[in-house]
């Protein structure tokens, strides 16, 4: 849609915006051109609205805003600084799980023997009957190792986080 119906509109509106609407030429054009008059009315009304008194209310204290701004800036700086640590948390978890898997594969036979010695005779008999794929032994070893591993990782993570603060 064409947004202007009068070729002189930019000049006329500039004059109105500058407060020169009572000049002879501008006033004559505004009388003759309904489109420009409509637009000029809106601009003049905006000026009147801007001059209308607002609620008599003190502005927020700049000292408080300054203080809040400093807090916000420090908080953002802390977030930026701690972002690598947050990322490292996931790297630690993945690395820990990978190490656990490697360790289990590497030491599977030795662990099976160790577990079969540690658990009661009935279970040991079962485990020796079908070594090393007994699901109960496998679950026990995995859960135990995962718990110890997770505790160690959490402790390391906490130490690393404290050392950065």
């Amino acid at each position: 849609m064409l947004h202007r119906t009068c070729a002189q509109q930019p000049d006329i509106l500039s004059a109105v915006a500058a407060g020169r609407e009572r000049e002879t030429l501008v006033a004559a054009h505004l009388t003759a051109c309904p489109s420009c008059r409509e637009q000029a009315d809106a601009i003049s009304w905006m000026h009147r609205l801007a001059d209308a008194p607002e609620p008599s209310r003190p502005l927020p204290d700049p000292g408080v805003i300054w203080w809040k701004g400093q807090l916000l800036r420090r908080w953002q700086a802390e977030r930026v600084a701690s972002a690598p640590i947050e990322r490292m948390h996931w790297v630690e978890l993945v690395a820990g799980c990978a190490c656990l898997v490697v360790f289990l594969v590497w030491q599977w036979r030795g662990l099976s023997t160790l577990v079969s010695r540690a658990i009661p005779a009935g279970v040991a008999a079962m485990s020796t009957a079908a070594p090393p794929s007994n699901p109960l032994v496998l679950v026990l070893v995995l859960c135990g190792t995962a718990t110890v591993g997770a505790m160690v990782l959490a402790g390391l993570h906490r130490m690393l986080y404290r050392s950065h603060l």
Binding site: M1, H3, R4, A17, E21, R37, E38, Q39, A40, D41, A42, I43, S44, W45, M46, H47, R48, L49, A50, D51, A52, P53, E54, P55, R57, L59, P60, P62, V64, I65, W66, K68, G69, Q70, L72, R73, Q76
Partner: protein, 193 residues
């Protein structure tokens, strides 16, 4: 208020020129100067947008807090002012998107506002003007205020509102036409200009 944008009457603001290209945070004195210069016009803009003094206060604080959190390479008053209005506009838009608080929390108009603008006193006329302005869409209010009260150029308005610069004159034209229609409907004749 009109035409205030072009003035630079504080020595500290603008002391750092464009040649000093390293971005730096505002100092407290620079912030105080910017606040003294622009807080009242910015608050008026936000109040006219939201129709609510509490929202205007909140958005004003948010805009200045964001200004303080970012280092600027420039201390040019016009650029910092444009940034303030842009941030405040975005914050106001976020406020509406979060739940239309702008329309719900508008402060109630007094019974005086029911008086015709032709016969009422100054307070009634002021309230009626506020109500008329609030009948426009938020984007139309932003456009009209930034263009005709703050004197922003079209590219600055486009940047503040996230529009294409070429579409600003078209949208402004339509907003003015809509406002003129509202004014006719409410009985503001040409004599009220």
């Amino acid at each position: 208020m009109v035409g205030q944008a072009a003035t630079l009457d504080v020595e500290d603001v603008g002391a750092h020129t464009q040649a000093d290209a390293r971005p730096e945070l505002l100092t407290e004195s620079e912030f105080q100067d910017l606040y003294r210069l622009h807080a009242r016009p910015l608050w008026a803009y936000l109040y006219r947008l939201t129709g609510n003094t509490a929202d205007a206060d909140d958005l004003l604080q948010e805009a200045y807090c964001r200004l303080l959190a970012i280092p600027f390479a420039t201390r040019d008053d016009r650029e910092l002012r444009a940034y303030l209005f842009r941030v405040a506009t975005n914050a106001a838009t976020d406020l509406w998107r979060r739940g239309g608080r702008g329309t719900r929390r508008s402060e109630p108009l007094t019974s005086e506002s029911a008086v015709s603008p032709d016969h009422g006193d100054g307070a009634a006329l002021k309230h009626d003007m506020s109500r008329t302005f609030r009948d426009l869409k938020p984007q139309e209010r932003m456009l009209l205020w930034l263009a005709h009260v703050e004197g922003f150029a079209h590219p600055e308005i486009a940047e503040a509102l996230g529009l294409k610069a070429a579409s600003v004159p078209v949208l402004l034209f339509r907003a003015r036409r809509k406002l003129a229609a509202l004014l006719r409907k409410k009985g503001y004749g040409p004599g009220e200009r």
